[in-house]
Point group: C2
Chain length 332, copies 2
């Protein structure tokens, strides 16, 4: 059986309060008593019961990060950054992997005793609404979530990123620019307005057939969509992908149908995953500042935990276009 404070107190010949003081580093304990207590703790392999502590204090020191199980472009980087940022503020982090885009991963995460939840997975507005309405740990949206009037959000400007990427392709001389990334399942892809804006400013009319949906951010989705674009009539000379894995799949599709990247078709993604620095060709992309995302989101969450009624924040993280080989050639 696990030993309790009482067991330790009995063995050390002191009261539970004193043991509690020692365990929690309370300063006013005589050195002699401290030593006795520490010896007893070691002997009994005492470990404080987190649930009891949490029940009493109302706080856990843990944040949950909800991430999709299907590749989120920069999920690994984001998780790393969040763990780091949270540690700075004295929080530990658990990652809850959400099964399906529309599942109750958020709901599940809120069944785990945590002080706050960072939602990096695509969730429906309805889910967010329910989570915010219900009493329970506060929620902060992180990454590329659509704006929400009911909770804090730290995110990149996806439309702006798409516009910048499209402009990069235009500057490289491309004119027949396709896009992969509309996700009708959850919500219209938020990058589309930026893509259209860039085209219009260049005097180009958006062609409906050049905007293809992808179910998830997986290489296979990019492959499928790109192949469809590249073997069809009116072949594009560039493809904007709403995430790097989609772009990796698109590059492979081009290769498989006998086209060269970037000579025949340029490809650009969003996310700057490490894979794109080692692919052939290396992948042009829009880098997201995951450190910024993580720091700001954790900071917002920490504030809201302390002050549930603080004003809502909507923070935009910076991004940068990173030109690499996959967009580096001028078209024929």
């Amino acid at each position: 059986m696990a030993s309790t404070l009482r067991d330790v107190a009995r063995l050390a010949g002191v009261s539970v309060k004193t043991v509690s003081n020692v365990v929690n580093g309370y300063p006013h304990v005589s050195p002699d008593v401290r030593r006795r207590v520490e010896a007893a703790v070691a002997e009994l392999h005492y470990r404080p019961n987190a649930s009891a502590r949490n029940l009493r204090t109302g706080r856990t020191g843990v944040l949950a990060l909800v991430l999709p199980t299907t590749d989120l472009p920069y999920a690994g980087d984001l998780a790393r950054a969040v763990v780091h940022a949270a540690a700075q503020q004295g929080y530990r982090v658990v990652v809850a992997h959400e099964d399906q885009p529309t599942s109750s991963g958020l709901h599940d995460a809120r069944m785990i005793p945590v002080d706050g939840v960072l939602v990096g997975a695509p969730v429906t507005p309805g889910e967010v609404g329910r989570a915010v309405a219900a009493t329970g740990p506060p929620v902060v949206l992180i990454g590329s979530a659509p704006p929400d009037q009911r909770c804090d959000r730290v995110s990149i400007d996806v439309a702006q990123a798409a516009e910048d990427a499209t402009n990069h392709l235009l500057r490289a001389g491309r004119r027949r620019i396709a896009a992969i990334g509309e996700r009708p399942a959850v919500s219209p892809h938020p990058g589309t307005p930026g893509y259209h804006r860039a085209l219009r400013r260049a005097g180009l009319a958006p062609v409906p057939g050049r905007l293809l949906p992808a179910q998830h951010h997986r290489r296979a989705d990019g492959y499928r969509a790109a192949r469809e674009l590249l073997v069809g009539p009116d072949r594009p000379d560039a493809i904007l992908c709403s995430s790097d894995p989609l772009a990796i799949g698109a590059m492979r599709a081009a290769f498989d149908v006998g086209l060269r990247v970037p000579d025949d078709v340029a490809v650009i993604g969003i996310g700057d995953i490490e894979e794109g620095r080692y692919s052939r060709p290396t992948l042009s992309t829009v880098a997201v500042d995951t450190g910024f995302l993580a720091r700001e989101a954790v900071a917002r969450l920490a504030v809201r935990i302390g002050q549930p009624d603080a004003a809502l924040a909507d923070i935009v993280a910076p991004h940068t276009v990173l030109p690499r080989e996959s967009t580096d050639a001028t078209p024929r």
Copy 2:
């Protein structure tokens, strides 16, 4: 403030016990009362307090999966599989991302109230020992952990996988086979014996300079090590990498020094990450059955949670060599 069972009971005009019954789906509740209680629950946005429940019952229904923050080859697949397998058994899963190989990630995970811990990150034997000695949730090693006398383990036979991969290279006609993956920081790489065994059986003497260490399983580590091998004297005609990310980095290094894969140097990894199916060339690898790993590990853990004194198990998961383009050519 969050509402409690008492609040709900008061509003519904029943006792706390009845509310508890309704919330937990206890069958013997009259339909009328059930409706009243459910209405009260909804009105007050009641959510059960997980900590109180856990304190009372001694169980959480949650398993922790400890994973390294630095790329574990197939971490994503494994996490997905574990979440799925755990759900089948009625457990939720939280992932704890361990900061450094030798950090106290395991210790941290055990400070989160969970029923059991799956350790997929490289941990030192000392850590495992402490975790097992201390009272607390049981631990099962999963993935490619070295054998341990003190706790259950479900893992692939890393030495056998290395031997099989080396044999694949030998069959492809390679003779000067190098290996990347020794990690002196934590422990000697467990694949090395298999690599040596295969060489010896082919009548080849292991060349010490052809075994290079990698700090982590990152592409950059593979790049660095491979580059060193490929620009040095006595250039190898094949490289066995102990993980796929290392192999991806190695392929890029070959390309950067003007060598062709597989013509000049063959490359094979271990793990079968999706990236290797889209790389150029596609990456030969040893596929690990993550579904098996996850199912067996969760099953073992579930058993041990119920019976702390059950006999220790050491289960070996199957693996398969997957020949792809990166080892497909005969040497010059």
